[in-house]
Structures are given as C-alpha cells and as structure tokens.
C-alpha cells in the first residue's frame, strides 16, 4: 500500500484528521492513566491482612451506665468466657483495634530510651492470650502471652508492657539479622523497655491512609485490655461453616450476661468481610469509576471514528468509483481506509503518550501516585489501534463495495 497518496488525501481534510487524531490522543492519555489507577487501587485492595478472615466477625460493644474499671474488666472476662462457650464459636478476644480498622493506636518505636527520632511507627494492638488464635495468625518464633501477663487498666495508668509480640515484618525491620527474639525495644511513650517474647506471622497495621503505607505491616501486640474507653471490641472466630449461627448467638449471649450494653444497628456486628469492604470502599469506588469512564470513552471514540469515516466515504464515492474503474480492487479500497486510520491512530498515539505521561507526572506531584509504567501505555496504545481498525472496518467495507459504475453517475 502506498502511503504517499493517503497523506496527500489527508491534507485535503485536515480538520477531520486532526480531530480524530486528537480524540485518540486524549482517549489514550485518559484510559491508560485510568487503567493505572485501577491497577494501583486493586494492588492495595489485594494486600493480605495476615488475618484468616473467613469465619471471623467483630462486635463493637458500647457500655452504658457507669461501670467502674474493675467492673468493666470483670464484665469483659465474663463476656469472653460466655462467647467461647458457645457451640458455634471457636475462640474470642478483646482488642482496641485490628487490621483494616482504620483507627486505633500507633506509637513510635525506638531502639534506645534516649533516641530522639523514631526508628519506625507501628500499630499497638492491645491483645490477650487468645488474640493470635482468634485472628488465625501463627507465631513464627517465641511464645504467646500467658493469661496472668494481661493487664487491664486505662491507658493513662499503664506504666510498662514488659513483654510484647511483634509482627514478622517489624522484627525484620528492627533486627535485620533475624535475632529479634529476646531483644528489648521501646514501644511505650514513657521510656520503659519491652522484651520481644514472640514473633507473629504477617500482620497488617490498622492504619489505612496512604501516608502510612511504609508502616503497613508493623504491628506490636501488647498484653493489655484497655479500660475507661466506654466501649470494647470483641473479635470472634466462628467454627467453620457456622459464621451465621455465631453472629446470631454471640450478641444474645452477651445480652444474657448483662443488658447494659449497646450494639449499634449499623456496624455493631460486622463480618470481617464487611470490615474489609468498608476499609477499601473508596478504592473500589475509584476503580469502578475509572472502569466505567474507560469503557464509555473507548465506545465514544469508536463511534466518533465510525461517524467521521462514514462521512468521508460518502464524500468520496465518486473518487472511489474512479479508482475502481481504473482497476483498483475492492481489497485496495478497503486497505486504503484501514491504512489511513492506522496512520491517524499512530499519530494520535504519539501525542497521547506525551499527554499521558504529562497527566501522570501531574498526579505524581499532586496525589502521590506512582509513575506510570510503560506496559500500560503499550496495552492502551494497542487497544486503541485495534479499536480504530475495528471501528473503521464497516465504513471501509462500504467504501470497497462502491461499484466502478459510480463514476458515470452524477449525484
């Protein structure tokens, strides 16, 4: 196929050519950034929490009335016993926060008491001896807490946490040589040290904001039950296949213990799957929006190509007739329009690539997204070329079917 005559013909309808090229360029720029955002969000969403999320649910229990601290501690103990005795429940624990929760307690971690700047930041999970089993997180080294190590008191009265369990990732960060077990680190604000007695398998932090990505797998389990907050969160592991039964039984069992409590109708009792969905709500939302935008955009661009090419074919029926009369085959005419579209598409892709990189650069500086990888550009560029060829095919075929006799007719 000769390209020169096509270029010459394009010069005759510059405006249409530029418009289609420009549209392809813009579509490329938006679609590959949209795909990239989808990818980024989906990568975030598919991070493991470390928790065995199946069969796990959370009860947020607000206390009513004025329970004293010892009363609250006794009630929590009684509640947990009652929960664990249920036939549908495997284990239960009380925590201040948990992975994917979004809010909770994080502390700066120091290696020495007089260290001014933190070594890193980490979630502090106030846990008990049932926490690891309930979450379904294994110990990879050391031991679990024992029941008598668990203190129950308001955070203001806490003097020290003598023993702690840290997540595998935090242990590796603090002690790259792998000798974290038995070491002392400083996780409290009051310069008292804590001995690492256990290292857990992967455990995600409660922090969900993008600023905390660097600390996403730092977690410290401290043997403590926090009082004086007016509420407590129970994490309950149901026996396999009995999640529904357990979620029905557990609140009843708690109310049987004492009526002075409230489970909020909206989020008082949530499966861990719901916790996950809520944690990543905005990420799913963005991915869906970008998906819709990409699909509709591609459809509109394809429709635009069909529309303009149809117009050109209509405009050039006589010329096509002349070419056919002079011996051009149907295939020649078809490939003329296909090549023309390919050339415009390539031009659009060159401009679009620059635009895409520009938009990405702007988002990198303003929204802290990562740099666009070349594979997205390549995929989006190929997709657009294929789309263009597909869109132009029908009008091109119509052009190819113009009979040579057309040349003899006047419109």
């Amino acid at each position: 196929m000769q390209i020169k005559p096509i270029l010459a013909a394009m010069r005759r309808h510059k405006a249409g050519t530029i418009l289609i090229g420009f549209q392809i360029a813009l579509t490329l720029a938006i679609v590959c950034n949209a795909l990239f955002i989808i990818h980024e969000r989906m990568t975030r969403v598919s991070r493991p929490s470390g928790v065995n999320e199946k069969n796990l649910f959370v009860i947020t229990n607000d206390w009513v009335g004025n329970l004293s601290d010892p009363q609250t501690a006794a009630q929590i103990r009684a509640d947990l016993d009652a929960l664990r005795q249920l036939g549908s429940v495997e284990d239960a624990t009380a925590m201040n926060s948990f992975p994917l929760h979004g809010s909770g307690w994080d502390n700066y971690i120091r290696m020495k008491p007089d260290q001014i700047h933190m070594t890193t930041d980490s979630s502090i999970y106030m846990s008990d001896d049932h926490t690891l089993d309930t979450l379904g997180v294994k110990l990879v080294a050391g031991r679990n807490f024992t029941p008598n190590e668990i203190q129950a008191l308001p955070i203001q009265q806490m003097t020290s946490w003598p023993v702690i369990i840290v997540s595998k990732d935090l242990a590796k960060l603090l002690f790259p040589k792998g000798d974290a077990l038995g070491k002392q680190i400083y996780v409290t604000n009051n310069y008292t040290s804590s001995t690492i007695i256990g290292i857990s398998d992967t455990l995600q932090s409660h922090m969900m904001d993008n600023d905390s990505n660097a600390y996403a797998y730092n977690a410290v389990l401290v043997p403590m039950r926090e009082l004086g907050t007016g509420y407590v969160q129970y994490l309950v592991r149901a026996r396999p296949g009995q999640l529904e039964a357990a979620m029905r039984d557990a609140p009843k069992a708690l109310v049987a213990q004492s009526r002075m409590r409230i489970f909020e109708a909206r989020d008082g009792v949530m499966t861990f799957a719901q916790v996950r969905a809520k944690a990543y709500e905005r990420d799913y939302g963005m991915a869906i929006l970008m998906g819709i935008v990409s699909v509709v955009l591609l459809a509109i661009t394809a429709a635009g190509i069909v529309g303009l090419t149809s117009f050109w074919v209509g405009q050039r029926r006589r010329q096509i007739g002349v070419r056919r009369a002079l011996g051009a085959t149907q295939r020649d005419i078809l490939s003329y329009f296909m090549t023309e579209n390919m050339l415009i598409g390539l031009g659009g892709i060159v401009v679009g690539t620059l635009l895409a990189l520009g938009i990405n650069l702007w988002m990198v500086t303003h929204y802290g997204v990562a740099h666009l990888s070349g594979s997205y550009l390549l995929v989006a560029a190929i997709a657009l070329l294929v789309l263009g060829q597909g869109a132009v095919f029908a009008p091109a075929l119509r052009a190819a079917r113009v009979p040579p006799i057309e040349v003899t007719r006047t419109v």
Partner: protein, 436 residues
C-alpha cells in the same frame, strides 16, 4: 428568524438519526459524568458557613517544638494549659473551645436500655460565633461559663428522641448519671463539612446530639472522646496530670472581624509564645498559625482526593466527548454543502449560514442536556458505589444543578460548533452549484 432556524435544527436532528444519536449521547454522557462528580465535589468542598467563613479562625500555637511537631506545623488542637490561657486573655471578640464527649442517655420511649450519645463540650460563644439556629430557647449566657453551670443545649433530633419533640427548655436531662439543665434546642443544623470539628474527623460523619457547657464537663472529668494527640513521655496519672500534659485535644476558634484584628491577634499569639519561651515552657521560638475556615479545611485535607480526581477525570472525559462532537458536527454540516450552496446562491449571507448552524448545534446541545440530566439523576443513585455513605448522601440534584446541566450542555455544544459552522459558512455557492 432564530426560531425558524431552531425548527430547522430540530428537523435536521431527525435527518441523520445515527449521527445525531451519537452526538447527543456523547454530550449526554459527558455532561452527566461531569455533573455527578461535580455534585459530590460541590458538597465536600463548599463553604460551610459562607456568611462568616472569613471571620472565623483557628489559633494554632506550637506547644510541641521542632522535635515533635508535624513537619514544622503546630498541632491542630491545643493542650489544656494553652487553651485556658488563650481563653483568659480575651484578645478576640469571641472565642470558643470544643471537645467531643460520649455519654449515655435514657430515651423517651425505650423500655429501659440506655443508649450512647455523642456531643460536644463547648462554651457560650459557640452558638453566636457559628450562627446556630434555635428552635426553643437559646444558648447559655457567657456568664454561665464562669459559673460552671450544668447547662446543656440539645439538637432538634436528640430532643425528638428524648422528649418526643416537645419544648424541653427548663427541663432537666440525665446523661451518664449527671443532671443537666436544658437551656435551648437547636434547629436542624449540620454544616457540611462540619468545619468546626474536622481535626481528626472526616467532617461528614454523624452530627453531635447535644452541646454541653465545657467547664462543667471538665469539673465532672468527662473524658475526651475525640482525637487526642500526645508527644514524648506519657507520664500523666489521672485527670489533673492529664490536663497539665502536652496532649492536645481542645479545638479552639476565634472570631476576628477586621484585617487589623487578625494582625493584632497574630501578634498576640506570637507574644504569648515568646512569654512561654521566657518562662521556660517552650524551648523554641514562636511558631503560630491563624488559618480561616477555608484555609483550615484545606490544611486538614477535608476534600477527599478521590473527589477531586474523579471530577478532573470526568471533565477530561467531557472534553473528549466535545472533540468527538466537533468531528461529527463537521461531518453533519458539510454533508449538506449542496444545500448551503443553494441557500448562499439565493442570497443568504455567510453570517446567516453561521447563525443557522450554531442554532442547530444548540438544538443538539439541548437534546444532550436532556439526556445528560436523565443520566445524572440515574447516576446519583450510583454515587454510593464510589463514595462512602457519609459523603454519598450529600450529593443531590437541585435546581441549580439542573440549570447548570443544561447551561453546560448547550454552551459546550455551541462552542464545539464554532469551527464546523464556520466551515459551513465558507462553502462556495458557485463551486457547489457547478459540481451538481
């Protein structure tokens, strides 16, 4: 003549239905995407208190110093010591302090189980500074702050739950075992974002149920249920030591009416910090800020980045739809080159041709606006898919959004038609007539 052109335009819409449908759809989708994302953006980025947003300021004092502060910025709240010092100084025409509390209440109709309720502990100026509308009674008198009275203001919604909506002013209410005297019931009042309490909060979650007199709450040692941020050693034990600690948890607001008041107050904050440096409380030079409402919302990143990104993406989408429309209008207009030639030969000026095709484009825009409006209304129910319920509920269709939808659709289409219409007006009558 314009109405005639408009009729021609409508007729021409019917002539190539495929091309017309394509254009109307492109405009419709583009406008709808922009309007849906804009309605969310408008809701989260709007000025929550337009009458006073330029007179309300957050006084920020760096009580942590360069070692602990937030990348050089002072903390978003005040500790008890600084908060009380600023209150006593009376350097602003009005000032208030806020912190969140959680108390339990026994509802009007319940069989016995108390419910948790959330409220704000605050001072008398809160109601006057923020123009809180009242249904019954008023806020308490500023002198009551000094009397440390057990006064409380309920919201309309909470009053409904507790007293079935009756005028409860003068009655007493028991919250977490303590009695409070109701002095007022507010109208429904829930600015979005809840600018006065966005430090550590999204600004869009559930509104408070009541407003409690701050000094009374402090006397009863009612715990802060909102954000509390501490630095260094947490060595405090008990309530009184907590009050003296470096923990910041009180949200301050001042009202300053003129630019010179603002400058004077800024100087006051600096001199206060210098004094604290002199007495040895602060080991660093003054570091103060005094943002107004909109600046404060900006600093606190109240607008979710997703809202901004989706608006930008939707507008890019609309631009592409318009480029598409330019191409299609060009095709549509030039297909009628022969017709234009005849009209021109019969004496129509270029100007008239130009006007005719712009009006025809406006007809396309109108049709696109109708489709766009339908899609916008349909899409509003889908906003819940993109944003959490607290934010999604703020997006709604109102008259101004409907008006904007049509205005944008028509204006954008006419703008897109400038070039195609100009090309149509350039058609040479002789050339067209000859080739026919």
């Amino acid at each position: 003549m314009l109405t005639y052109y408009f009729q021609l335009g409508l007729r021409s819409l019917k002539r190539n239905p495929m091309l017309t449908a394509l254009m109307v759809m492109a405009i419709g989708f583009g406008v709808a995407a922009s309007m849906i994302t804009y309605s969310v953006f408008r809701a989260v980025s709007g000025d929550p208190i337009p009458d006073k947003s330029e007179q309300l300021f957050v006084p920020q004092v760096d009580s942590w110093g360069p070692q602990y502060n937030e990348k050089g910025e002072p903390p978003g709240g005040l500790n008890y010591v600084d908060a009380m010092a600023l209150m006593k100084a009376h350097q602003a025409s009005r000032m208030t302090l806020i912190y969140q509390v959680m108390l339990s209440a026994l509802p009007h109709d319940a069989n016995s189980v108390p419910v948790p309720t959330q409220g704000l502990a605050t001072t008398a100026d809160f109601f006057t500074m923020f123009n809180v509308p009242f249904l019954y009674g008023t806020g308490w008198n500023p002198t009551e702050d000094d009397n440390r009275a057990a006064d409380i203001v309920l919201t309309k919604e909470f009053n409904q739950r507790m007293f079935g909506g009756a005028n409860s002013v003068g009655k007493s209410i028991t919250l977490s075992g303590h009695d409070y005297r109701i002095v007022g019931v507010t109208q429904h009042w829930d600015p979005a974002p809840r600018f006065y309490d966005v430090w550590g909060e999204s600004g869009f979650d559930d509104p408070p149920d009541f407003y409690l007199l701050l000094n009374r709450a402090l006397d009863l040692k009612v715990d802060n249920a909102g954000r509390n941020s501490c630095r260094g050693t947490l060595s405090y034990n008990g309530w009184d030591e907590f009050l003296q600690s470096n923990c910041v948890w009180l949200m301050p607001w001042v009202e300053l009416d003129t630019a010179s008041d603002v400058a004077r107050y800024r100087r006051f904050l600096e001199s206060y910090s210098t004094d604290q440096q002199r007495v040895g409380r602060f080991g660093w030079t003054p570091n103060v800020r005094l943002p107004d409402v909109m600046k404060w919302l900006d600093v606190q990143h109240v607008v979710p980045p997703e809202s901004r990104i989706s608006l930008i993406v939707a507008m890019c989408f609309f631009v592409i739809c318009l480029v598409n429309t330019i191409g299609l209008l060009l095709a549509k207009f030039l297909r009628r080159a022969g017709e234009i030639g005849v009209r021109r030969a019969l004496g129509a000026t270029r100007h008239e041709i130009y006007a005719q095709y712009l009006v025809e484009a406006a007809a396309v825009g109108l049709a696109g606006g109708v489709l766009g409006l339908l899609l916008t209304i349909a899409g509003m129910s889908g906003v819940g898919l993109l944003f959490e319920p607290d934010i999604a509920r703020l997006a709604h269709v109102d008259m101004s959004l409907i008006g904007l939808t049509f205005a944008v659709a028509i204006f954008a289409t006419v703008a897109a038609a400038f070039y195609p219409a100009w090309r149509a007006a350039q058609v040479q009558p002789a050339w067209q007539l000859k080739s026919n």
